[in-house]
Structure formats: structure tokens, C-alpha cells
């Protein structure tokens, strides 16, 4: 039985690596054509590559903190645990369990994100033992009073934006593509995002968010990138600055583990009710 499993694992590893060889081959075949690409095509191709490099992570469990700072520098802390499940060909599933502040401890949030249709969301209120389906329309609202909106924290799906490659630029010593992303969802809180992605690993380094009035609202920078499973890069510290209010939030990943064995049934209303 065990041997069978091991063989199966090897088999899947094999197919993944052969797929990668294939992708590289296709990419090198296509590269002579790159000069003929329009800026929109180039932007889209980079987004696809960014997404392609992040396929296959499976599932993860994270312990995270958010440090909220106001203009005066007063800080307050949020703590939560995030369980995530990769869903191929659709948005990912997520279960968030809140630990701090203490009055919301035990509150849990289930999210099925989708590329085109609205996300499906449920909230579990432990005092009432009530599961409440909530509207996902209001995605521009602050998450837990922080400078992150629900939209900022949802999974990256190619269909969510239109892309326009602008230029190359070096930030923090890294060669980056600068791409303008325009949200396809008319209920997005943003008119555009300026995204800096490093050329070497296709890791997002910086995002500028422009509000509905087209003025610069927030800047998000990504720090402490770490590689998991020899493939997937995750930033362990996100820093969001709101230029209009002077407030900022650090989103810190304290612990992170991949391939923990989570499956689809760990993300339903029944598991939401007993989330700890």
C-alpha cells in the first residue's frame, strides 16, 4: 500500500517536471515572437507566467498577524489562522479563523473565490452558533479595520484584470516588469493597479492602488520572500500604506506550511461551524 503511494507520488512528480520541460520548450519557441507582442499581450503573458509558476501548491495553513497603525503610530494587533485550498480552473477556497482581538475570537470566515462570478462567503458567529451567508459584493471594504480590503486578500486570477505592460524598472536591485492592471469587476474599489513583478521569479514586489477618483490610494510592498516546496515564493511581510489617511497595516505570516492534507470537505459550512 505504502509502496503504491510512493510510486504514485513519484509519478506525479515526474509528470510535473515533464510539464515544466514542455512549458520551457514552448516558451523558448515563442520568444522570438515577443517583439511582435503588443503591450497588452505582453502584460497578459506576464500575468499568465506569474499564475503558471504558482500552480500546484495544493493547500496551506498559516498563522498570521496584522499590525494596524494609525497616523499617530498607535498600533493594534489582529491574529488569525488561514487555511487555503488551491482550486484548479477556479478561485481558491479559504477558511479564516480569528484569534485576536479576543471579542471576535472563534469567529470564522469561509470564502469560495471565483474569477468571474461573485465569491461565495459565509461567516460563523460563535456566540449565536450561527452561520450567515454574506454578500461578497462589498469587496472594497476594510478587512478587520485594516488598510487591506477583502479584494486585496483574494486569490490572484488572470480573468480579474486587463493587462498593459508599461516598462522595465529596477526596484530594490531587482529587474522588474511594470504592468498596469485594470479590474474587470465594476464593483472593484480601484480604477487601476500598478504592479511591479521581478523578472527572475515573477514575484510581485510592489502594487500601487488607484481609487475610483483615479488618485493614488495605497501602496503595498512585499518583503521577506521565502521559497516553499522548492518552487512557490511567499512574501512573509506585506506592508500597506494608505496615502490618504496616513494609516498603515503590516500583514505578517508567522508560520506557514504547505501540503498539510486539507481537502475539499475541510471547506464547507459544517467545517466552518467547528473551525478552531
Amino acid at each position: 500500500m505504502n509502496r503504491l503511494m510512493r510510486n504514485k507520488k513519484n509519478l506525479s512528480k515526474l509528470s510535473v517536471s515533464s510539464l515544466m520541460v514542455l512549458t520551457t520548450l514552448v516558451c523558448s519557441l515563442l520568444s522570438p515572437l515577443a517583439t511582435a507582442q503588443t503591450s497588452a499581450e505582453k502584460g497578459l503573458a506576464q500575468a499568465k507566467e506569474r499564475k503558471a509558476r504558482d500552480i500546484g501548491w495544493g493547500d496551506s495553513v498559516a498563522k498570521t498577524s496584522m499590525i494596524l497603525r494609525n497616523k499617530q503610530g498607535d498600533a493594534s494587533t489582529r491574529k488569525m489562522r488561514l487555511k487555503s485550498l488551491e482550486v484548479l480552473d477556479d478561485g481558491d477556497k479559504g477558511l479564516t479563523i480569528f484569534d485576536q482581538p479576543r471579542d471576535v475570537k472563534g469567529t470564522a470566515f469561509l470564502n469560495f473565490s471565483h474569477a468571474i462570478k461573485p465569491d461565495e462567503q459565509w461567516l460563523y458567529l460563535p456566540a449565536l452558533k450561527r452561520v450567515k451567508r454574506i454578500s461578497s459584493r462589498n469587496k472594497s471594504g476594510p478587512f478587520m479595520g485594516s488598510e487591506f480590503s477583502y479584494e486585496d486578500l483574494s486569490s490572484f486570477e488572470i480573468e480579474k484584470y486587463n493587462y498593459n505592460y508599461l516598462r522595465d524598472e529596477t526596484i530594490n536591485g531587482m529587474d522588474c516588469f511594470v504592468v498596469e492592471q485594470t479590474p474587470n469587476d465594476k464593483f472593484s474599489g480601484y480604477t487601476k493597479l500598478m504592479v511591479w513583478t521581478d523578472k527572475e521569479h515573477y514575484r510581485v514586489q510592489k502594487i500601487e492602488f488607484y481609487d475610483r477618483k483615479k488618485s493614488l490610494l495605497k501602496t503595498l510592498t512585499f518583503h521577506d520572500y521565502k521559497q516553499y516546496l522548492d518552487k512557490y515564493w511567499r512574501s512573509l511581510k506585506l506592508n500597506m500604506i494608505n496615502h490618504q489617511t496616513g494609516k498603515s497595516t503590516d500583514f505578517i505570516t508567522d508560520e506557514l506550511a504547505f501540503k498539510t492534507g486539507l481537502v475539499d470537505k475541510d471547506f464547507n459550512k459544517a467545517s466552518l461551524k467547528r473551525a478552531r
Binding site: L68, R102, D103, P118, R133, I134, S135, R137, N138, R274
Partner: protein, 404 residues
């Protein structure tokens, strides 16, 4: 085999069983202790309707939760005791085991055994389908605090929905304010003099079944309950005084609760049909909740709620929402203190002078402390109506909550 041998073996078996059961609690188990303490002061704004009733009251409550899991989280035990001290109302000084529940999680099933709490339904102004737990009447006027219910609760989680089956072996009686307390009728309700339709009284075994499912934008639940009606009726009693005795009938209830989540709208409806020996009626609550994100050019969420309440029974003494309209608004300020404001009004459409209103506000002080203000007012000049009983009980309540 001699009798002694049998007993010895039995002892061994029992001991082994006990050790196996306790081992996980001592070894690889993960346990957690949390809870809250709340101090509250209530000030009544009018002279009391009846003699003895208090004008203000102070109260202190505590709820702790001890949680322990083992077997890789597949088994857990939760113990949640609750106690309240009230300065005026001796019946409100009370304790309860809100939860003492062993949960076992299987492949596509879960079983909960012990004392627990269950919530069914979708509407905000009234909870018609939610009948598993008895309301902790003396706790709060909104009826959202519940007494722990002994149960065996099996859940099957399938592709086609979730089935919840309940065996409820013990009925929890309602509690009522003492003569010193507010929110009571003119006559004293003597809870210990309760009458039951069933000869087995509190030991009557109630049964319940529910199917619930999510289909795209729709969250649907269908439920059936057979057993003791959680709502008490009243009959007169006489000794030196006249008093009221709660009467608990047997009932059959089918219920449906449906919510459609469409864009910024939540459309909700709950319908029940309840049959007792004396009555057979339909009641419903239906309406919507609409949320405007980023209202007034701020980061506030402004929610607007409206629900219509219908009860087939014309008898206004027992049916509160027989033809009433609820309107409410909720503002979440989305600040770091989680400040929220809720306002609501229930207007009786048959009797224009009969209405009740509420205002709730709360915010965090820091990670552990929170303040809360609740205010209610009641208006009625129809002597045989439910709201009339509490017409003099308008109050403002200030609470300070500590969470650990």
C-alpha cells in the same frame, strides 16, 4: 467461569475502557481556556407598571469555555458554564451549562453528544424555525440567549446537502422574572408549578430532523420538529394568591428557511406550520437586508433591513408578530475598534399605537475590553397585547465586557 472471575474481567474491561477514554485528555491533547466577564447596569426610564418592580439593576455575568481536542482534532470536548448575578431579580441570578459537548468527526459525518446549542434560520427580527434550544428568558429581551439543550446530534454531510438528526432526551423549562424584576406580566409566573401535556413531562424525548443545502446563490433549510413546544402557554393557579403556571404542549412543526444572496441584497424568508392540540397555524418572517459599502464617501458599511412578520393566529396575547413590520439599520464603521451601531423598530400594522424599538452600539477599548450600550422602548395601549406587558419597561443598559 466463577462469578468472581466475571467481575474481575468486567473490572479490567471497565478500567481499560476508562483509561482509553481518559488517555487522550492527558496525553496528546490540546486544551484552551477562554471566556468573558460582563458588568452591566440597567436604568428604566418610567415608573414600573407593578409594585415591587425595580427601577434599576446591576448585574455581573461570566461565561468560560474550556476546549480540549485529541485524535488529530477528530474528537473534542467543550465545556461552557455560565453564571449571572443580578442585584434585584432573584430569578435572573442563575447559572446554566451552555455547553458540555463531545464532538466526533468522521469521514462525512459528525456526532455531537451532551449539552449543546443549535441555530437554525436566516431572518433577523424574529426566529421562527429555530426551535431546538429553550430561550434564556431572563437574560435579554431579544430572546437570543439560549439554555443548553441535552442532545445527541448526528450530521451527515453529503453532496446533496446536510442532514441533521436530533434526539433531545430532556426538555429545558423556560425561566421567568421574579416579582422584583421587569419584563413580566402582572401576575407572578411560578416556573416550578409548570404543567405538561405529556405524561413524561420534562423527560419527553423530542425529535428533530433538518436538511440544509447551498445551491448557487441560495441557502435553503427544511426542518421538522416533534416534541415539547419551547414556548410556554399559561394557566391560572390559586393558593393565597393568584398566579400563572407555564403550560408546555406537544407540537409538530415543519419549517423552511431560505436566503438568496444576490449582489448586495440578502432576501430572506422563514415559514413554519405548527400544530398543537389547541392550535394549527402558519407564521412567517420575510424581508431583505441591503448593504451599501463605503456609504457617505467613507469606509462605513450601511445596512438596511426590512422584514414583515405574519402569524395566522389573531390572538394578540400569544402571537407578537401577527401583522408587523420591522425596519432596521446597521452601521459598521470599519474602524480598528470595530464600532457598530444598530437601530430597529417593529410597528404593529393592526394597532398603530403599538410598537417597539431598539438601539445597540458597541466598540472595543483594547484587545480585551469592550463597551456596549443597549436601549429599548415599548409602546402599546391595547391591554391584551404582548407589548402591553412591557409598556413601562423602556430601558438603557450600559455594559463593560472583558474577554480573555
Amino acid at each position: 467461569m466463577s462469578n468472581i472471575r466475571i467481575i474481575e474481567n468486567l473490572n479490567k474491561i471497565l478500567l481499560t475502557g476508562l483509561l482509553t477514554a481518559l488517555l487522550p485528555l492527558t496525553a496528546a491533547a490540546e486544551s484552551e481556556l477562554t471566556g468573558k466577564v460582563v458588568a452591566e447596569s440597567r436604568f428604566f426610564l418610567q415608573d414600573a407598571a407593578y409594585a415591587n418592580q425595580t427601577d434599576n439593576q446591576f448585574s455581573l455575568s461570566m461565561e468560560a469555555e474550556w476546549f480540549n481536542d485529541w485524535n488529530d482534532g477528530m474528537d473534542s470536548l467543550t465545556f461552557k458554564p455560565f453564571f449571572r448575578y443580578d442585584s434585584e431579580d432573584s430569578e435572573r441570578t442563575h447559572g446554566d451549562i451552555r455547553e458540555l459537548l463531545w464532538l466526533h468527526v468522521g469521514e462525512d459525518w459528525e456526532i455531537r453528544t451532551g449539552i449543546g446549542k443549535v441555530y437554525w434560520g436566516v431572518t433577523e427580527s424574529q426566529h421562527l424555525v429555530d426551535v431546538i434550544n429553550q430561550t434564556d428568558n431572563v437574560e435579554a429581551i431579544d430572546g437570543e440567549q439560549k439554555l443548553g439543550q441535552p442532545m445527541v446530534h448526528l450530521s451527515l454531510i453529503k453532496e446533496w446537502g446536510t442532514i441533521d438528526a436530533f434526539i433531545l432526551p430532556w426538555f429545558r423549562q423556560s425561566n421567568f422574572a421574579s416579582l422584583d424584576g421587569r419584563f413580566r406580566p402582572g401576575l407572578e409566573v411560578k416556573g416550578d408549578q409548570a404543567l405538561f401535556e405529556s405524561g413524561s413531562e420534562e423527560k419527553h424525548v423530542d425529535l428533530a430532523l433538518r436538511w440544509s443545502h447551498t445551491i448557487e446563490d441560495w441557502d435553503v433549510g427544511l426542518s421538522y420538529f416533534k416534541g415539547t413546544d419551547r414556548n410556554a402557554g399559561f394557566v391560572g393557579g390559586f393558593d393565597d394568591d393568584v398566579y400563572l403556571r407555564p403550560y408546555y404542549a406537544q407540537m409538530d412543526q415543519i419549517g423552511a428557511d431560505i436566503q438568496a444572496t444576490i449582489e448586495s441584497w440578502l432576501f430572506k424568508v422563514e415559514v413554519i406550520h405548527r400544530k398543537t392540540d389547541a392550535d394549527s397555524f402558519t407564521a412567517m418572517t420575510g424581508g431583505f437586508e441591503y448593504t451599501i459599502g463605503g456609504a457617505f464617501d467613507t469606509v462605513w458599511d450601511l445596512g438596511i433591513l426590512a422584514e414583515y412578520q405574519y402569524d395566522e393566529r389573531d390572538d394578540v396575547v400569544i402571537a407578537a408578530g401577527q401583522n408587523d413590520l420591522f425596519f432596521g439599520s446597521r452601521i459598521a464603521f470599519n474602524d480598528e475598534d470595530g464600532t457598530e451601531l444598530l437601530f430597529g423598530l417593529v410597528q404593529d400594522l393592526d394597532r398603530s399605537s403599538s410598537r417597539s424599538g431598539l438601539l445597540e452600539a458597541s466598540s472595543r477599548i483594547n484587545d480585551n475590553w469592550k463597551w456596549r450600550v443597549d436601549a429599548w422602548f415599548f409602546q402599546s395601549d391595547t391591554a391584551n397585547e404582548v407589548t402591553y406587558v412591557v409598556r413601562k419597561d423602556d430601558f438603557v443598559q450600559f455594559s463593560l465586557e472583558y474577554y480573555w
